[in-house]
């Protein structure tokens, strides 16, 4: 159980971190899409 809690906590934090990072760079990516929606 402790292993599950540890692994899922780390995976969760990693994914939230990546999600926030993608959110931050999203305007830059959108600009590079040159009008494609």
């Amino acid at each position: 159980m402790a292993t599950y809690i540890d692994v899922y906590s780390n995976v969760g934090l990693l994914a939230v971190g990546v999600g926030v990072f993608v959110g931050i760079i999203a305007p830059l990516l959108k600009k590079r899409m040159h009008g494609i929606h």
Binding site: Y4, G12, L13, G19, A26
Partner: protein, 459 residues
């Protein structure tokens, strides 16, 4: 990862009758696929007594090949068979594969020294059944969607509504399959669960065969004369494609037994493909094309991360539900595999709400961009894992956490899926340079396959 295509209400339009044949066929196909998939890790760990890591690897290799096979099945149908013949061939293989799974044989025996005695004969039947299912999905999955599109003329206003109905069939099948086959398999025995999946696929095959006249010729081979032409040893092209499909079953039968080999193949293909896309983008594209190609590549890489974590559902989350979740519902302990139905249940209930949400936000100019939807989707995925980790900390003395935390992770993961999945492939095709758009679609499917294997590797 049932289908999460978000389109608004199906409405009250009259659709071609062929749509309902495809709805029923695909519903039964997904019934069998998700019914079997929900049981797979338990069959491996409790019947064949594989360790968790080995079971997750087999599961990952299987689901990876399932995602890759339709690329080849789609090409063969486009070039030679036509969708109707490809779907029929695929459905026959699927019936054989699912019924093959029902031949469980004697369970493995663990002696006191840590070694496991498995029946090699039944293990080979199991691997052969997986190969039949992989090849069957390859011939059926992409091509049945193609027929749905072919039922409507370009610009037909009923088209999106038709696909909505079709996707509802997919999710309904996934929902019912996980519930029924899961319950039968873990309550009465593996043969019952896998047998139910086989019976479901048999219904699908019968519906498709009987309903073919209603397809009104929309799924016929591109060139019937060319297809029936004898080209080698008195065999027609059609027969050669079928024999090629049977040969593929034998190749996959062997491959699936060497999961690390499948992994290395996917690693190699992924590195080569990524390098190829980058070289093409930097040396063969204008600045605007290069920017778009790079954004498409970045989105594909993030999608691999998303699906690798999302696809823990059928492996590590499934096992966790079995061992560490209190699964009592109104006093009855539900088998763990039945909770695999939560994803499709939430898609069915939430997809219309997300569709309305995006439309409302879009009407006020506030709909998130595609990259932001990817970010929100990945963030929701992470929140799901954090919620479950917190919930596991609330486990009682019996080491079992309340069921609500399992439900919550599937809810958050499905919400993430609804942000990312409906826009993913279409955005990649829109961002890709026209002359390589087919290749980039292939890259997307390779990425999905790779993500599934990675899911098994990290589970």
């Amino acid at each position: 990862m049932a289908e999460a295509s978000v389109v608004v209400s199906a409405g009250a339009m009259k659709h071609p009758r062929g749509l309902y044949i495809l709805f029923m066929t695909e519903m039964w196909e997904r019934f069998s696929y998700y019914g079997m998939r929900g049981l797979l890790v338990f069959y491996l760990t409790q019947h064949f007594l594989f360790g968790d890591q080995k079971a997750f690897l087999i599961y990952g290799a299987y689901t990876a090949l399932v995602y890759l096979a339709p690329v080849i099945g789609g090409l063969l149908a486009d070039q030679y068979l036509g969708s109707r013949k490809a779907v029929t061939f695929g459905a026959i293989l699927l019936v054989l594969g699912h019924f093959g799974m029902a031949f469980e044989g004697p369970g493995a025996i663990a002696d006191g020294n840590g070694s496991i005695q498995q029946s090699d004969f039944y293990l080979q039947i199991f691997y052969l059944s997986l190969a039949l299912i992989i090849t069957g999905v390859g011939f059926l999955k992409a091509n049945i969607s193609t027929i749905v599109g072919a039922l409507y003329e370009q610009g037909d206003v009923r088209r999106d509504s038709g696909f909505t109905i079709f996707y509802m069939g997919i999710n309904l099948g996934a929902f019912l399959g996980a519930l029924l086959a899961g319950w039968l398999g873990q309550t009465f025995g593996w043969s019952w669960g896998f047998g139910a999946a086989g019976v479901g696929m048999l219904f699908g095959l019968m519906v498709f065969r009987l309903g073919q006249p209603l397809l009104e010729g929309h799924a016929e081979p591109p060139d019937l004369k060319h297809l029936s032409e004898k080209v080698f040893a008195g065999l027609s092209r059609e027969m050669i494609v079928y024999l090629g499909g049977i040969a593929a079953i034998f190749v996959i039968w062997k491959m699936i037994q060497y999961q690390e080999f499948v992994g290395r193949l996917l690693d190699g293909f992924s590195i080569i493909t990524l390098t190829g896309v980058l070289v093409f983008s930097f040396f063969r594209c204008t600045k605007e094309e290069r920017d778009r190609m790079l954004v498409a590549t970045i989105l594909i890489i993030f999608s691999v991360l998303f699906w690798a974590l999302f696809e823990q559902a059928g492996s590590s989350l499934n096992v966790l539900a079995d061992r560490n979740i209190d699964r009592h519902v109104f006093g009855w302990e539900a088998p763990a595999s039945m909770f695999q139905s939560l994803n499709s249940f939430f898609i069915i209930t939430l997809a219309p709400l997300f569709s309305i949400l995006w439309i409302r936000l879009g009407s006020t100019g506030r709909e998130p961009s595609t990259p932001l939807k990817f970010g929100i989707g990945i963030g929701l995925l992470g929140l799901g894992f954090l919620a479950l980790a917190f919930g596991l900390g609330q486990a009682g003395d019996d080491g079992r956490a309340p069921l609500i935390w399992l439900v919550l992770i599937y809810l958050l993961h499905t919400m993430g899926e609804l942000c990312l999945s409906p826009v993913g492939l279409s955005m990649v095709t829109k961002l890709s340079v026209m002359r390589v758009v087919g290749f980039m679609m292939g890259v997307w499917f390779l990425a999905s396959a790779y993500a599934n294997f990675v899911a098994g590797r990290i589970a």
